[in-house]
Amino acid sequence: MLEYRSKLNQSGFRLSLGVATAVIVTALVFVITKQQRKQSSQLILSRQIGLLLPTGAYENNPATDRIQLNKTISSSLTLNSAYLYKSANTVRGAIFHVTTSQGYSGDIELLVALAQSKLVHGVALVAHTETPGLGDKIELGRTDWLSQFTGLHTTSMPPSAWSVKKDGGAFDQITGATITPRAVINAVSDTINWYSRHPDSLQ
């Protein structure tokens, strides 16, 4: 009995020691990488913004010119924040970071770059959990589906055009994925509508 007890104590002690070591190591790595992780995500973001906007269209650093919005503008779309781009000290447009809950298997996060002149500079994907091989074709590395939005003039498009061709709209569909393209198109269209109704909200 005594022997059993001392062994159990030993096991318990060793397990606690192991857990404590693991916690300390993981916490250390977390703290050490914190600054670098923040920098890296900022870098990714400003690189994405740089890809969305034409060179020379802005003079500030949009990645740091951020407005927190947190506006839910429809049952499925939230505008998280906007990154302003300016030239000659006036706002020329904004890159909206939006989240739509219409995805097939969870939220889809997008960056939508809009000029005040009602031009869509482009749309980029931030995060999604769509089906690999089907819904994930919206990723630019897989197909160029997302580049359809680039250079659209929203004034020249009737509201009915904002859907896939199968539904009578202007955008290509994705074989095997119906819901994902619909979610992205709705998100972009809703963002554009909100910005055209509130053009001065981002000054």
Partner: protein, 212 residues
């Protein structure tokens, strides 16, 4: 070398063929079937699994005299989970592009019983060097099968190979990979979960035919 430790050659042969974790032991089927729908996804998970397996086998082997029988399983889980978490944090900090493509696979590795299996069956009773060789062999064996499965599923389902290579290489330019035929003529079921079982079954049959 202590008696009872298999030679490097025997370990490599076991991992890659006679005791292949995916084709013979059928270990780690959950990630194997879930993430093998394209060749690039398969390659990403395969590499991440290989790295984790080598580190966890090394750690378990180094501390093998410390692991009392009653607490060894929780300690394996602890080691594997901490290793995966630290790798994820480090990749996120210094290789952000890679993290964007591998990010979803990394947490999956914790659930791969192949890693725990090797910790229990090999690393906990063998010296460090042999444990590292074993991890490399088993990890490579897993990676090869995963890649074959991914290539077969992508070819049949999408008519292409290595689409989205840019995701893994971390370049921003879009890279379309090799196109064999138009995606419209692909057999969709190969991309869906049942297709993974069918093709894995075909690989198992092929291996048994060769062995005979």
């Amino acid at each position: 070398m202590t008696p009872g430790t298999p030679s490097t050659r025997a370990l490599l042969l076991a991992g890659l063929w006679t005791d292949n974790p995916a084709l013979v032991k059928l270990l780690g089927l959950c990630p194997l079937l879930a993430v093998s729908n394209t060749a690039i996804n398969a390659l990403g998970l395969g590499i991440a699994t290989l790295i984790t397996l080598v580190i966890s086998n090394t750690m378990v082997s180094v501390f093998r005299h410390y692991l009392l029988p009653a607490i060894r399983i929780p300690l394996y889980v602890l080691v594997i989970a901490s290793v995966v978490t630290c790798i994820e944090l480090l990749i996120q900090a210094w290789l952000p592009q890679l993290h964007r493509s591998l990010g979803i696979f990394l947490p999956l590795i914790v659930t791969n019983c192949l890693i725990m299996g090797r910790a229990e069956a090999f690393a906990s009773r063998q010296p460090v060097k042999a444990s590292i060789v074993d991890a490399l062999a088993m990890g490579l064996g897993f990676l090869v099968v995963l890649l074959l499965l991914g290539m077969a599923r992508e070819l049949i389902g999408l008519g292409s190979l290595f689409t989205g290579a840019a995701q893994l290489l971390g370049t921003d330019t879009s890279h379309t990979g090799i196109k064999v035929f138009d995606a419209e003529y692909g057999v969709l079921i190969a991309l869906l979960p049942p297709g993974a079982f069918f093709i894995l079954a075909a690989l198992l049959v092929a291996k048994r035919k060769i062995d005979r």
